[in-house]
Amino acid sequence: MNGPQPASRLLGYVTAGSLERGLEVTLAPETPFDDPAMVGVGYYVAIESGSLAYLGMVTDVRLASGNGIAGLPAATASPFVRKALSGAGVYGQLAVRPYVVIAARGAREAVARARTIPGHFAPVRQASRAEIAQVFGEEGDDRIYVGTPVDLEDAPICLSYDALLERSIGVFGRTGTGKSFLTRLALAELLVRGKAQERAARRAVGLIFDLHGDYGWEGQADPLSGSVKPPGLKQLFPQDVSVFALDPNAGPAKRSNAEELHIWPGEIEPEDLDASREALRLTEQAVMAAFELQRRYGARWVLRVLEEAQRDETDDGESATSPLNALAHDLNFQPGTITNLLRVLRLLSRAAYWRAERPAHGTAKDAILGRLQSGQWVIVDFNARLVPREAHYVFLANFLTRRIYDQWRRKAEEEPGDSPAYPPHLVVAVEEAHNFLSRQLAGLTAFGQIARELRKYNVTLLVIDQRPSDIDPEVMSQIATRFVLKLDNERDVEAVLEGQEDRGGLKAIVNRLNTQREAVIVGHAVPVPVVARVRMWDQAEQRKIVERRRRTVGAAGATADDLYRR
């Protein structure tokens, strides 16, 4: 086990602290703590103490002075006096959280959680690349390179494929911070590694609910990727990815050879409406009425209700003896309740994805399920003119996920974990996740169920959201690995850091993230919190990922050159 590298620069010495509150480090007089290259929140430091070496993170930078010397008027008078006082009468301090022990003689694990703290005057140095590698490993078949620490540009932060899939993942950040970029990167890397696994249960497939058409074909030009528009998953891995789109003729969907996403109302169940109640503006009574109607009319209840409504319209709908009013009376509901339900069903029936007749070649839901079961990744592209868009999005995502999750659960219960027929790991990526996981809805939606049931059925979530405070705290607690980009709202910052060690320190760091390309990564997949500069995804990086996929399957994917021959 190597100790901290001698080349890394001394910053100061431990002068006080506790495991609970973190360490106080007094900077050496020669450490320029106002130099961002040397000191900053979120920077990693290595601390040597006896036989142990710790890796910690700077969570605060402070100015301190002894005996009020900084308050004396003369202290500001002369550059010499100021210089002489620096590091002696006045000095800089760092608040450091020692997270892990990275070098302990006789330790069985390479990296272990810190259970004690370094002693007084333990030297504190900038962490070196080797120390970062000790904690995060190197990029490989099982480790995904996501970025570098903000202060060490040549030290890759790599996350374990297994750890990322073991529990649900969250990507949180306000608009324009690079959520889609980061998610696309993570999905591409998961796809490549998921395909490379030998055991069925360790393979991964993804179901991606793509609200803005970001993931199938190339996304918008991004400051992170230079002038190159980052390619979508379908471009990178045409054989591995299917795209289903509400509007297959829209630009990106057309280029992706997207199939049409449609829905046959004979498949709609009251539970689908219940799970989307908020977005559809359905009352609880209207949902109860839906259950009653299903009981009365059977599987085709939606079509029957719409037929009744059609007849009603010819009677102008106002008559006390109209079929709908009679129905409301019959079911013991207020006419307004039925009207509310009917409004929603009409809204859905007017959408382009609605098919009154069951398609002869099967429904899109069945097609999506089939692709996923065969190991394909599926992107459901919602980039279409739909009003209100959110309501359709929430309804369709719930509709599909509930059924797919049911299938996965059934299969996982039937097959032993080591069976080749065991379902691959399913990652369900969902944008604007608070629509599905709010306090009111988390208990009703398949998304809430997936979050709560952890990986019991080999299904986890990848939630992408800009308003994490709207997500049910219980669900948030199950989102084990969190990528936190710049957030504006204090409540959102609180929500994403809930349950994390040293929340106060991390909060200060999140509040100081740059708007783009910087993320705090906390939770299950990282042994210590990371303040990362998200890696670039330029052409060279894209070629690498395509080549990695080709190494796995031979000629199945696009060649790296295919990507740029456009």
């Binding site: 010397i69 004396l72 003369a74 202290a75 002369s78 006096v81 002489a84 002696a88």
Partner: protein
């Protein structure tokens, strides 16, 4: 500074001593090779079991016989040299001496920043120090608390010592800052006094 580069000058002999300091009387001005030390200068009492290094914290001149004070000579505006010429008997009646506070002692060929086991003997010769000795003393200024006991004179002498030591260093401004920071630890309880010391040392200051 030239005399420091060659052989150190002789200043006088110890007339009384304790382990923490001594007083010495200077040779008369016409003694060959003899000089009067400057305030804040590092000196060394060379005789005795161990050479004793001390910082000059006061220099005094006056009648050799304290019962016979010097009377006023010379009219207003007459230059000092003319007064001496007109009253040649006065100068031989005067004595110059200095007080010095111990800052270290030599043992086994090295300079230790601590008090000696015994004071220098009376009539021990006192010489000036080399730049190397000055640098050795200032390497670890643990003598500062003793100097602080001497009050304002000690602070002023210390300021002079620091400036001289820094001036002989290859990186004068860096050394000046380093010494001030090291010394500052001893003044932690009295920030106003430390500030005064820094102003005395400040190369851009008025002191």
């Amino acid at each position: 500074m030239n005399e420091r580069m060659g052989e150190a000058p002789w200043y006088g002999r110890v007339t009384s001593a304790t382990v923490s300091g001594f007083t010495a009387e200077c040779w008369s001005e016409d003694t060959e090779g003899a000089r009067v030390p400057r305030f804040g200068e590092l000196v060394c009492a060379v005789d005795g079991p161990a050479p004793v290094y001390a910082l000059v914290t006061d220099v005094a001149t006056g009648p050799a016989d304290s019962t016979r004070p010097v009377q006023l000579r010379g009219a207003p505006g007459v230059p000092l040299e003319e007064v001496h010429r007109q009253h040649p008997h006065v100068l031989p009646l005067l004595r110059t001496g200095f007080s010095a506070t111990t800052v270290g002692h030599g043992r086994d060929g090295t300079l230790r920043p601590s008090l000696p086991g015994s004071p220098p003997p009376v009539l021990a010769g006192v010489r000036g120090c080399t730049d190397d000795e000055l640098a050795q003393v200032c390497r670890s200024p643990d003598f500062v608390p003793l100097l602080m006991l001497t009050g304002v004179l000690g602070d002023q002498a210390l300021a002079a010592l620091v400036r001289r030591a820094a001036a002989t260093h290859p990186d004068p401004s860096g050394e000046l800052v380093r010494l001030c920071r090291e010394i500052g630890a001893h003044y932690a309880g009295d920030p106003q006094r430390w500030m005064t010391l820094l102003r005395l040392v400040d190369p851009g200051g008025e002191a």
